[in-house]
């Protein structure tokens, strides 16, 4: 491992994954081919070092003037070095010292770091601040220089050097354990244990140590590698104890004889590299498994989606959507968006394609607010994203056409699509806080699209942005303009996103559950705002929601989606008055059961 690899590099990565580590991790790790290979190599190396006397008959320190720098073969398996010592034997015995030294450093670092982390994390108080000070101090010290100084004072002993290096590496374990423990300290299950009279020691060993076990092994393998690298480096410079065989001493000897016998560098070099690579691969495999187990939700979501799609069964080719005829006598407004036979799918690992939207046809008229309703997983958001051509990675439009004023969005190239996005179709996301770039001010995020889309100057864009912020009901536009997303509330952030959506005067705004993530009182305000903007700007809105209340509040027409298909569509008034499709009816039943206070559609609308 390189010198640049330092204490604590890993800690932030690992701590987030800690909580998911459980005993089944070991079982899964054993199925990871790379991890197993790396582990086997490590075991072999350790065994070779332990069984050194059985594998060679030469004394690793047996100097012989008569057999200096002999090549491999004839008695000496890998030849002899500059002092006539057997290279194979030195390699084996060197492994003993090198590995034992690195183990010593790792154990010192682990014992001190884990103990310190547990005490600081569990009891906190003054020890916590003292310990964090000491770790900062240790991390500011360049290890090699400290070791050189220590050697100058204490003499060249492998063990002393490795103990001191172990102390320098304490932060690697301390930070890991401290983060995990202080995270777990106030968890309910720890409180429960405390309340039921379990002793602190028992809580620590039973509930806390099990959580950090796997990350500690991971960290230990990395620290072990760094300890080998540093020890070998020092010996290589000639600062080690020359009387014992180590891989570093062999490299030192090989480097002095580099011109006469380059092989001498190769063998200890290979030993160091193979051990280092095996340790790194072992750590990587372990980390991969840790990350896997930390991310079950995402996988489950995908499985659920696939299952839902399968449950939908064979899709009926005929389009049996219930269509409510127009009640009004006036001629309907012209079509803005016409979706015909749209299918969206995600290719799976086994080569099949999971369809999440199938044979969806949808008409949206200029100036209307169209609701797309359905339960979670019905494909409504996927439909919305396909109109923007912003499906998640892997997703693609399989069939059908999406006509915006007669132009098929499913076929235009990406440059053209970029022009349409923001300019003609805009998007209001569901979760306001995660949809603003945390690193830029609201102002930058509002003005950037206007400057690229409308080609206006910076000052002009700012003036427009401030006006928009006022329009969407932000009390102090100047201040919000200069704010960062984390300084806003959810409701404010959603207003900013709405301002961003209408900033380039789009024809169509796609709002994906724009109120779901907000407080109830804010929800009503955001719906009012959308209605106002729609009236003022005459923009067409496609609103994706699972909430019939939102539809009743806002929409002129509505389409109901189930299992990737539209089952019923028509004007809100007639669909609410006379739902035909059984799925629509069941949705209404569900609402009425839950909230009878909502009242009838007519009352709400009037």
């Amino acid at each position: 491992m390189s010198e640049a690899a330092v204490t604590g590099v890993l800690a932030p990565d690992v701590t987030s994954e800690i909580r998911a580590a459980r005993s089944h991790l070991a079982r899964r790790f054993l199925k990871n081919p790379l991890g197993i290979a790396a582990l086997s190599v490590l075991v072999l190396i350790v065994l070779a070092a332990i069984c050194a006397p059985l594998l060679t008959s030469y004394n690793p320190n047996g100097v012989s003037v008569l057999s200096i720098l002999q090549g491999p073969g004839a008695g000496h398996l890998l030849g002899t070095d500059g002092a006539g010592r057997d290279v194979w034997s030195r390699l084996l015995f060197g492994g003993r010292y090198t590995l034992a030294g690195a183990l010593l450093a790792t154990v010192v670092a682990a014992v001190l770091g884990i103990a310190g982390g547990l005490v600081a994390g569990y009891y906190g108080k003054w020890f916590e601040s003292a310990a964090s000070w000491v770790t900062t101090l240790l991390m500011a010290l360049p290890g090699i220089v400290v070791l050189l100084a220590a050697r100058a004072v204490l003499g060249p002993s492998l063990w002393t050097v490795m103990i001191i290096f172990g102390v320098l590496l304490v932060p690697a374990f301390y930070r890991l354990v401290y983060a995990a423990v202080s995270g777990v300290r106030n968890e309910l299950f720890v409180d429960a244990a405390r309340v039921s009279g379990v002793s602190d020691l028992r809580i620590i060993t039973r509930h806390i140590l099990t959580v950090v076990r796997a990350p500690i092994i991971l960290q230990a393998s990395i620290v072990f590698g760094i300890a080998i690298a540093v020890q070998v480096g020092l010996d290589f410079l000639g600062f080690g104890d020359q009387s014992i065989p180590t891989w570093g001493n062999m490299l030192n000897d090989g480097f002095t004889n580099l011109y006469r016998d380059p092989q001498l560098v190769v063998w200890p070099g290979l030993a160091v590299v193979i051990t280092g690579v095996a340790l790194t691969l072992f750590a990587n495999a372990l980390r991969d498994e840790l990350e896997q187990s930390a991310r079950p939700r995402r996988r489950r979501a995908a499985v659920v989606m696939a299952a839902a799609a399968r449950a939908a069964g064979p899709v009926r080719p005929e389009n049996d959507t219930v269509v409510h005829e127009e009640a009004s006598s006036s001629a309907p407004a012209p079509l803005l968006l016409h979706i015909e036979g749209l299918a969206v799918g995600y290719p799976q690992a086994d080569g099949s394609v999971t369809r999440v939207v199938d044979n969806v046809s949808l008409d949206i008229r200029r100036g209307e607010v169209h609701g797309l309703v359905g339960e979670s997983g019905s494909g409504k958001t996927q439909t919305a994203w396909s109109v923007l051509r912003l499906l998640p990675a892997g997703g693609e439009i399989l069939e059908g056409s999406i006509l915006l004023d007669g132009e098929d969005l499913s076929r235009v190239d990406s440059a053209k699509m970029r022009e349409i996005r923001g300019g003609r179709i805009a998007y209001i996301p569901q979760e306001p806080m995660s949809n603003l770039d945390p690193s830029f001010t609201i102002g930058t995020q509002l003005t950037e699209p206007m400057r690229t889309k409308l080609g206006v100057s910076k000052t002009e864009a700012k003036a427009r942005a401030l006006k928009l912020l006022g329009q969407v009901g932000i009390p102090n536009p100047e201040r919000t303009f200069a704010s960062y997303p984390h300084e806003l509330s959810g409701g404010m952030a959603q207003r900013v996103l709405i301002a961003g959506a209408v900033s380039c005067e789009p024809d169509l705004v796609i709002a994906d559950e724009p109120t779901t993530a907000l407080d109830v009182t804010i929800q009503a305000e955001i719906l009012d705002l959308l209605r106002e903007l729609q009236r003022e700007l005459g923009v067409t809105i496609l609103i994706v929601t699972h909430n019939f209340g939102v539809v009743a509040d806002l929409c002129d027409r509505v389409s109901v989606m189930q299992k990737g298909r539209i089952v019923e569509t028509g004007s809100t008034r007639s669909l609410f008055a006379d739902p035909q499709h059984p799925y629509t009816r069941s949705l209404f039943d569900a609402i009425l059961d839950e909230s009878p206070a909502r009242g009838s559609y007519a009352e709400v609308r009037s």
């Binding site: 390189s2 500011a140 360049p142 480096g233 290589f236 970029r418």
Partner: protein, 313 residues
């Protein structure tokens, strides 16, 4: 922002003070009979005592420490016990050499890791896999072994670069390039491996964020989404890794300088510690401490620039 900077700076100075104090007390307490060490076993007891007197080693440790600290604050770090050269001169001339190597390595690594990390994150597939393998090797193989390998191939066989030595940049630029290229590469490889991995995973992470979809929905160019927004968000964690690696890089430079015979701080460190030249070692501790603190401060400020949330805390 100003209070943030001042606070970080004060914290750094305090840290430096603690390190320097500990180092001074430990080194002198462990130094033993200094006069004997300097003059060797053949000197008479009388000359040894005289030497100790000359060096002012007869007064108590604490008063010596405060007098050293007073002088150090005015830039006087005393003289080497063995060469009588002023410590500040010995260190400053070498410091530039080491800083050239270390900053060269930092710049090379930052650029390479950004390019490789982003490339691996975006392309996936074989590009990603090759970069992964490279990362494992770069992480697992000690820098000095890479250095030995580089010397054999590019200096001894191909004669593209010099195997040892150092030429001042201002003296002869071509010569400078031929002497620093290999050491900088040897120092960078391990760093690139670590930082590129971090860039890769934070870019992948950032690309999964909701705001990326929203930015795209605004019709912003893909270049701006990637290089302005995603990279800025991914930069923070990568910068942390770079900062943490910096201290290790200074240590690595010590070994690399030995391999290439470069007269930098590493050589002073090796010489001073093997001879037990305590004033020189103390000078090194101060120099390295100051560098580490300045670098950490710079990184903190950069973090504040990249991540608005970091500015408050």
């Amino acid at each position: 922002m100003l209070t943030f900077t001042v606070r970080r700076l004060l914290y750094g100075v305090l840290l430096l003070f603690v390190i320097v104090t500990l180092a001074y007390l430990l080194l002198y307490a462990a130094a033993g009979n200094v006069g004997r060490t300097i003059l060797g076993p053949t000197a008479t007891q009388a000359t040894v005592t005289l030497k100790n007197q000359q060096l002012g080693l007869n007064s108590p440790l604490i008063s010596r420490y405060f007098s050293w600290l007073g002088h150090a604050l005015s830039g006087n770090f005393g003289s080497s016990w063995f060469t009588n050269q002023p410590v500040s001169t010995a260190i400053v001339t070498r410091l530039q050499v080491t800083l050239t190597l270390v900053f060269g390595a930092v710049i090379v690594s930052a650029v390479l890791s950004a390019v490789l990390g982003v490339w691996a994150a975006l392309r996936g597939g074989w590009v990603d896999r090759i970069i992964q393998v490279f990362s494992v090797l770069g992480f697992a193989v000690p820098g000095f072994l890479i250095a030995v390998f580089l010397v054999r191939i590019f200096a001894l066989q191909l004669h593209w670069f010099k195997p040892t030595g150092y030429v001042q940049m201002t003296y002869y630029f071509g010569g400078w390039v031929r002497t620093v290229t290999l050491p900088v590469i040897a120092l960078s490889i391990g760093l690139v491996a670590g930082v590129a991995q971090q860039v890769r995973s934070s870019v992948i992470d950032a690309l999964r964020q909701d705001w990326v979809r929203t930015l795209r929905s605004r019709g912003i160019s893909e270049r701006s989404v990637l290089f302005k927004h995603v990279l800025r968000n991914a930069g923070g964690p990568a910068l942390s890794v770079l900062a943490l690696s910096f201290v290790g890089l200074l240590g690595g430079a010590v070994i690399i300088e030995q391999v290439f015979g470069i007269p930098g701080l590493g050589q002073v460190a090796v010489l001073a510690t093997s001879e037990g030249d305590v004033p020189l070692v103390m000078g090194l501790v101060v120099a390295i401490g100051v560098i580490v603190i300045l670098v950490n401060l710079t990184i903190d400020l950069l973090q504040g620039f990249l991540n608005p949330k970091a500015r408050i805390s």
